[in-house]
Symmetry: C2
Subunit: 433 residues, 2 copies
């Protein structure tokens, strides 16, 4: 093995700075584990003269990506620049040049993970991406190694810290969405443009990656049903609490036999569910395996040093493989063909809040509409509203197929006595599955 | 690589049966991951004719250990028989015969782990023991691989399901220790002789193993301070609740600079602590790393299939190494010399419950004894007792050194106004460290 391992960094932002710090501060520990030092040889940046959190010799910085991905001395490329199309080209070139790649890029891995892993394998290179899901939580490695012998049937994740922060503050303190979002932006938990977080797209990318590994199936991003948190109101949160539930943005991946469903949507969890007490910007992934039963992995989902921990732990894995001469041989291709459930195969309980006209027989009309479809209720509340001639009905159904439920919803909207369907959410059952 | 991998099993009890089931039921998945089938060639049992949960061809069973550990065709020995001295000899022989070993034996690994790992390494063999700590939770692999780049400074674990079950039922329903213990025994959560669980020894073994890996230091079992749950009363649990704490049997391993402390003792956790909501027979390990911050790993700590999941996942790791030809090369020896804290270097808050004589000036005598030692209070309650002329004082100190606190305790016991020191527990702080 070489006297040291040379690393090229693409990007020196939040996560990149963390990577530099950990490599510098934990050098003796890294040497102990892998037998040689790690040296950062080159760092791609946009602006050579920007003031940064970490001090690096200016000779290490470059604005020319080829000084990283074409340098024959660089063993490992760490990608923490983000972006998709351009970044994909850079990493394909790096892999074709025989460089191992560590990336924290969930967008890229969700869209092009399969391609990149295949190219890595063809070129005898490692491609690791632990940091792409749930920051500092070593969840991908736990799925691949720790639970290797089990058959995973369900994963539920709080995998977006921004939305969990917002929902926690809204639920606990009755604060308004816009106010908490502004606070999250000020604290750096939310981006200036929060769309990708609050509309659930960021979580969907992570769920695609998790489902691919957990179910050993080529799940694509477009296979994930996505609904964000922007429509959640104070009323919804109050009723959730009253009924013994906690509202979370849940990424869910569920396997029944050979078929799977993957979604991201606001979900009411029973208060006793392990994920219900995961608050603020924290992330957690709940994994149900046929043999192991319920497990949960909890930790920081983002942030400079937590995410960098996952990146550098991947680097350690690459270096251990270099020492053993076995790079590029650990990836396992998906075992199963993708089979997605149809809406008549997806079952869940649902929470529904409706405004109805305060007429004799309104309630009966609504309930008979459900019972015609075979959808029954677990909980039901009817309350008067301040608005004249309106009443509010809140109900939680027993398990129903998504197909039946959507038809009921459509027919409700068409019903003369229904003024408005205010909200509708998935409800997680009490049972483990 | 061979056409199949041959496994010899030592033991066919609870965990052994689970191992057989998983190997049989998940065969296609195992083949996909490691490229060849797994075959169970021989199983050491005590009684050939006992009725068992799994059906194995009687030709596979033997009462002669040499048919497993001396058989040149057996590649991997899975040890799920328990016991220490005899088992150690078997595994040493197996390793010297070039067999890889997977064990679920915490007693053995706590006492002879260092020796066994060295012999494994000398003989080019893998020795994996994920199942020895926290059953189905892949915590050892997470420490070694997932958090490889971080410097772990604190681990706290609920690593004994029996005591967690007992404490949960006592706290939640105000039930008596003996009654809940009997129930736990009936449910199979507690052994007929529960000593090793309730006195904390089982948890101590697991903490020695965790501390060794997390701190990269040769921690021995005798380095772990141990106190069990048998002295905990209903009063203690009621006061804990009233003060905002949850009582748990906590294994704690803490590093300050170069020095460490490891203990197992009943501990009052703030209700908001992630471990406080780990209930019933569940286990969890909370890990604090300098870079990653707070993480927690939650799951079933025991049981046939959960523990067997960890065993067979280790087997998969051995088989992946066989395919790559790199067995016996992944173990990393401890990096640091063992340095244990003295009692004057161990700091904590403490909960103390005392019965004092109801005399003028008693309270002042007690508080001045504390203040002479520089130990101050965070919370203090004084209540009358039914017993004539006695009052109960409950207090929680600010952080104090164990040395100072023990001296205060001793002097309290000698004080004329103190009728009895009823109980004393460690209190976990609100801060992350």
């Amino acid at each position: 093995m070489a006297k040291h391992v040379s690393v090229g960094l693409l990007g020196l932002g939040t996560v990149g700075s963390g990577v530099v710090k950990i490599i510098e501060n934990h050098q003796d520990q890294l040497i102990h584990q892998v037998g040689c030092p790690v040296k950062i040889k080159k760092v791609l940046v946009r602006d050579l003269y920007k003031k940064r959190e970490v001090q690096l010799d200016s000779s290490l910085l470059t604005t020319d990506v080829n000084e990283v991905i074409q340098d024959p001395d660089i063993d490992v490329v760490i990608e923490v620049m983000g972006g998709v199309e351009e970044t994909r080209q850079y990493l394909l070139t790096a892999l074709k040049n025989g460089k191992h790649v560590v990336t924290a890029n969930k967008d890229l891995m969700a869209l092009y993970g399969t391609e990149l892993l295949a190219v890595a394998s063809e070129n005898g290179c490692d491609l690791f991406y632990e940091a792409s899901v749930a920051g500092g939580i070593p969840i991908l490695r736990s799925l691949v190694d720790g639970l290797a012998s089990d058959r995973i049937t369900k994963m539920m994740g709080i995998v977006n810290g921004t939305t969990n922060y917002i929902l926690t503050k809204m639920s606990k303190y009755g604060r308004a969405y816009e106010e908490v979002l502004a606070e999250a932006q000020a604290l750096g938990y939310a981006e200036a443009d929060p769309t990708s977080d609050v509309e659930g797209l960021d979580a969907a990318r992570k769920m695609a990656i998790l489902a691919r590994l957990g179910f050993s199936m080529n799940i694509d991003l477009q296979d994930v049903y996505v609904k964000g948190i922007t429509g959640i109101t104070e009323e919804d949160l109050n009723y959730s609490k009253r009924l013994g539930y906690t509202m979370k943005l849940i990424g869910m991946a569920h396997r029944d036999g050979e078929k799977v469903e993957v979604s991201v949507q606001p979900t009411l969890l029973p208060d006793s569910h392990p994920l219900a007490s995961v608050n603020d910007e924290y992330n957690a992934v709940y994994v149900y395996g046929e043999a192991v039963g319920e497990t949960m992995f909890y930790g920081p989902g983002a942030g400079s040093l937590p995410t960098a921990t996952a990146v550098v732990s991947d680097l350690v894995a690459v270096m251990k493989n270099m020492r053993l001469g076995v790079n590029g041989r650990s990836a396992v291709m998906p075992q199963y063909n993708k089979k997605l459930k149809t809406n008549s195969e997806i079952f869940s309980k649902y929470f529904l809040r409706i405004h109805v006209k305060d007429q004799v027989g309104a309630f009966a009309k609504i309930t008979s509409l459900f019972s015609e479809r075979g959808v029954s209720f677990e909980k039901i509340l009817q309350l008067p509203l301040k608005e004249k001639d309106l009443a509010e009905i809140v109900l939680v159904t027993h398990k129903a197929s998504l197909k039946d439920y959507e038809e009921v919803l459509q027919q409700l909207r068409d019903l003369e006595v229904v003024a408005e369907v205010k909200s509708s959410y998935r409800v997680e059952g009490d049972g483990v599955l």
